[in-house]
């Protein structure tokens, strides 16, 4: 309509001469692919796809020696071999089992003691010195001693990792409780809530956003530490496999382990994110729809 008017009013100027646009010929498949990626939720596949292409190209054009970087298909073959001929699933389970247990113990202890210290200054004074000293001893430095005590099996790693989850969960729970809006505490007072109700209905939900972020962060960190712990001492698990592969120069198996560690870490985080989104469904913050 606008174009028409322009044409009528200014018939002689070159600018207003309507151009007949030829319909562009685009193959159906390309259109489909474009439509597929136009959807926001699939946009995340693009980058991994690009990396995979680059990887394949480096193998095809022999940019890198196969012993340093085998072709993707070789890695998939190695994955299949490990899955069917070796005990890959058992190794994955060994690692996941460790992180699951460490997560459970570390979180329980962290939230529990964090609450004790958060609700009582006395408890805080009692714990904080000790915990703030222990926290400066890196997790890796604990491994040798705990292995001497508990051996090469899962218990030693669970203890060490539970500690690495416990520390941030404890500190953040404590700080989050101290940061609960005083107005809510006053409200609880006006509503005559008792201590148990105050904790359950006010303090716990108020600190949940902070606690959930801490859990996700520390699980990511601990998952990385599982690999280190298994590499330093252990006879099974993804960390063990990855260091064995390095010693035997089995780069394909090494890459299988690396990809698996990344993917499992991603899934662990997604699992916790789903839990977080459910627990924090009342929150309405910045939805990230700016651009």
């Amino acid at each position: 309509m606008g174009k028409q008017l322009g044409f009528v009013q200014l018939p002689q100027t070159a600018l207003s001469v309507p151009t007949v646009s030829m319909p562009k010929v685009v193959p159906m498949t390309l259109l489909k692919i474009r439509a597929f990626f136009a959807e926001q939720r699939y946009i995340g596949i693009l980058l991994p796809l690009f990396i995979l292409c680059l990887w394949q190209a480096s193998a095809t054009f022999k940019w890198i020696e196969p012993v340093f970087l085998p072709a993707p298909i070789k890695v998939i073959e190695a994955f299949w071999y490990m899955l069917t001929q070796q005990d890959l699933l058992l190794d994955i389970w060994a690692s996941v089992f460790i992180i699951a247990q460490a997560f459970a113990y570390g979180t329980l202890l962290g939230v529990g003691l964090g609450f004790a210290a958060g609700l009582s200054r006395k408890a805080e004074m009692f714990f904080s010195g000790t915990i703030n000293t222990l926290r400066h001893i890196p997790t890796v430095a604990w491994i040798p001693l705990v292995v001497i005590w508990l051996g090469l099996g899962a218990p030693a790693k669970i203890v060490v990792l539970a500690k690495s989850i416990f520390i941030p969960v404890f500190l953040n729970t404590l700080q989050a409780i101290r940061g609960v809006d005083h107005n809510y505490i006053e409200l609880a007072q006006a509503l005559k809530l008792n201590k148990r109700q105050l904790v359950r209905r006010v303090v716990l939900p108020a600190i949940l956003p902070v606690v959930m972020v801490t859990l996700r962060y520390s699980v990511g960190l601990s998952w990385a530490l599982v690999v280190v712990a298994e590499g330093i001492s252990g006879l099974e698990g993804l960390g063990f496999l990855i260091f064995r592969a390095q010693n035997l120069l089995m780069t394909d198996q090494l890459l299988v382990c690396m990809v698996l560690i990344g993917v499992i870490g991603f899934l662990l985080d997604r699992l916790l994110l789903a839990v977080q989104n459910h627990l924090l469904r009342w929150q309405r913050g910045f939805g990230g729809r700016y651009a």
């Binding site: 107005n183 809510y184 007072q189 109700q197 939900p205």
Partner: protein
């Protein structure tokens, strides 16, 4: 019913409230007006029992006030709903520590939600409510335990003019329906004249009560009537007298 006698509250060297006295009868609607810093919120918090550090006496039905009680409902300046609870739970939480049966509680909450006109929003989270709706919910929460007095600390201050007028009428309706005593703190003189049976005027430096003006206009009140205007004028005069006196003091000092 509520008697405040010679109440003084100091914060260190600063006297927030000096020798304040106030009476609120059963079912009476009293407003407190005054400039910022005149101690009106301080006084309300003392009556609520949120602040216990004062000299003088505050009694409700002859009993000295110690701490908070469900007998005295409070509505804060902001709705202060718990964002993680849906509307229903935000109101029901006020009955958590009562001995009522689950059935009675349920009825009381439903009745209160209906009274403030929020039926249908029971499962909404506070983030989804407008400012006016949230403040109605806060009023319902304060009323659900059937207190004998409701304390309102500038509850309409943050609302726009139209919502505010509508909620003033709602407040009157609720007050008549519940037959509860009310103390409303405000700095809006028109609001005070429109709503209350008695207007207590306070002043700063130190915070104190300077006048108590009875309002005997019949309800519902016409904001445009001459009597309404005359009363507004009287309250303004009382407030201005305070200001004028202060100015005279300063002139004298110079």
């Amino acid at each position: 019913m509520l008697e405040v006698r010679g109440v003084t509250r100091r914060f260190g060297d600063f006297t927030a409230l000096r020798d304040a006295s106030l009476d609120v009868g059963a079912g009476e609607f009293v407003t407190i007006v005054g400039a910022s810093g005149c101690g009106k919120t301080t006084l309300l918090r003392l009556i609520a029992g949120l602040d216990k550090d004062y000299t003088g006496s505050i009694t409700l039905n002859g009993e000295r006030i110690v701490g908070t009680s469900l007998e005295r409902g409070i509505v804060f300046q902001e709705p202060r709903l718990l964002p993680w609870l849906v509307l229903w739970d935000n109101i029901a939480i006020a009955l958590d520590n009562t001995l009522l049966s689950a059935e009675t509680k349920k009825e009381a909450v439903a009745a209160q939600i209906a009274l403030v006109g929020l039926t249908g929003f029971e499962n909404a989270y506070p983030a989804a409510l407008s400012g006016g709706m949230a403040q109605r919910a806060a009023i319902a929460r304060a009323l659900v335990g059937h207190p004998s007095i409701l304390l309102l600390d500038e509850p309409l201050g943050a609302l726009d003019a139209i919502t505010r007028m509508r909620l003033q009428e709602e407040l009157l309706r609720i007050w008549r329906h519940e037959r509860v005593s009310m103390i409303l703190v405000t700095h809006d003189v028109e609001e005070a004249v429109f709503l209350s049976q008695k207007i207590v005027v306070m002043d700063t430096g130190p915070g104190r009560v300077t006048a108590a003006i009875p309002v005997d206009l019949p309800y519902p009140r016409d904001r445009a009537s001459a009597e309404f205007g005359a009363l507004k004028h009287r309250v303004f005069t009382a407030l201005n007298d305070n200001a004028a006196l202060k100015k005279a003091e300063i002139d004298y000092l110079i």
